[in-house]
Amino acid sequence: MKKRWSMAINMIRYLYRLTVYTFFLAAATGSLQAAESLRNGKQVYDTACGACHTAGVLQAPRLGSQEDWIAREKQGFEVLLSHAIKGFKNMPAKGGNPTIKDKEIENAINYMLVASGFDQYAQKPVKKEAAKETQQPVAADKKEPVKKTQTSSVNQFNRLMQPSSEWNPAPAKDGIHDPESPGTLLLQEPKVAFDSLSKSKSGNRVDWVKALQGHEIAPRYDRLSDDASPVVMDLNIVREVKGSMPDVVYPHKQHTEWLDCSNCHPAIFIP
């Protein structure tokens, strides 16, 4: 009898703990989801659209250029919205980020149109239910809801999807150099060095292989000598991939122009 009572008490304790944990988990994730629920146009633009629409990559209409937007605006807001959501020509659906909500895309287009001189969109009301959604998370979680949205954003996590305004920052503004240090101001800015080099879409936006092949740079192969040249091995290793992906081609040539065999063999790859 006593044993049964203690089992029952243990069961009640277990259920109590389970309820408490579930409550906290739900509260935490719920507030996060609520904070994520709707971003304003600028926030969406900065994390997704800006990578192309700031500089006009692949003929994307540029933010602030009414000339770029005028023909598009004439098609009507609904057409622009549909293109942005489904993708159109060079533009991927939702700027390549499927987690963005349709209403957020609407906010982003609105933001871009207003910033490009179409003042009539400044009056365009954000739908009422959307406005409600934005107010709720503030009540649920007053501590920096915007930051939490950024944390969970795919684009913030993926370094390849930064808006162009964040590419190659000056040392004093890059977040790791101390702007108070006298040395920081003596350093060359990456943008100055990269200006004449071939561009790429990722990393620090320089295509180092092309820069080397095109003699845009002449990095030494030896610490002391300008004349030493690498032993280049022109051999492609093709590895078949199971499934529907194309085979992987590893080009020795581009790697041996930069590296020594001992960098990869035999520690990483057994030849």
Binding site: R159, D178, V206, R223
Partner: protein, 136 residues
């Protein structure tokens, strides 16, 4: 109301949702803080891009023995003055010499050793930092 264990669990859940600092440094820059903070110096920021324009990877990573791992080389000033690691070039002959402390030691204090803009570092920084703290 809650035992210590419960408080720690709740704190862990909430902290896992907190925002990490987003840093915009140049891709591949290495922040080296193995000894700097403890020595009262700013950490070192190694600009990979600046050196890549001037030297091929092989010079440092094969000839000079730099391991391809942030914090994996345990570089200190004694080794540099003896001509190892950075000191192989920063000797007043190939490049400017070690007396220019402020040009290398430009990092914000308190940051962990890591490669910037690396997706892997975003995933592992917290774990590595905790491991380092527990070792110290």
């Amino acid at each position: 109301m809650f035992s210590n264990g419960k408080c720690i669990s709740i704190a862990f859940i909430l902290s896992s949702l907190a925002t990490p600092t987003i840093v915009g440094a140049e891709y591949g820059d290495v922040l080296i803080n193995n000894y700097s903070d403890a020595a009262g110096m700013r950490p070192v920021v190694f600009p990979h891009w600046f050196h890549r324009i001037r030297f091929r990877c092989k010079v440092c990573h094969a000839d000079l023995g730099f391991k391809m791992e942030a914090g994996g080389n345990q570089i200190n000033m004694l080794k540099i003055i003896d001509g190892e690691y950075c000191g192989a070039c920063h000797n007043g002959e190939v490049a400017w010499a070690v007396e220019n402390c402020d040009i290398c030691h430009t990092g914000k204090p308190g940051q962990p050793t890591q490669v910037h803009q690396s997706t892997a570092s975003k995933l592992t920084t917290t774990t590595k930092r905790k491991q380092t703290e527990s070792v110290e």
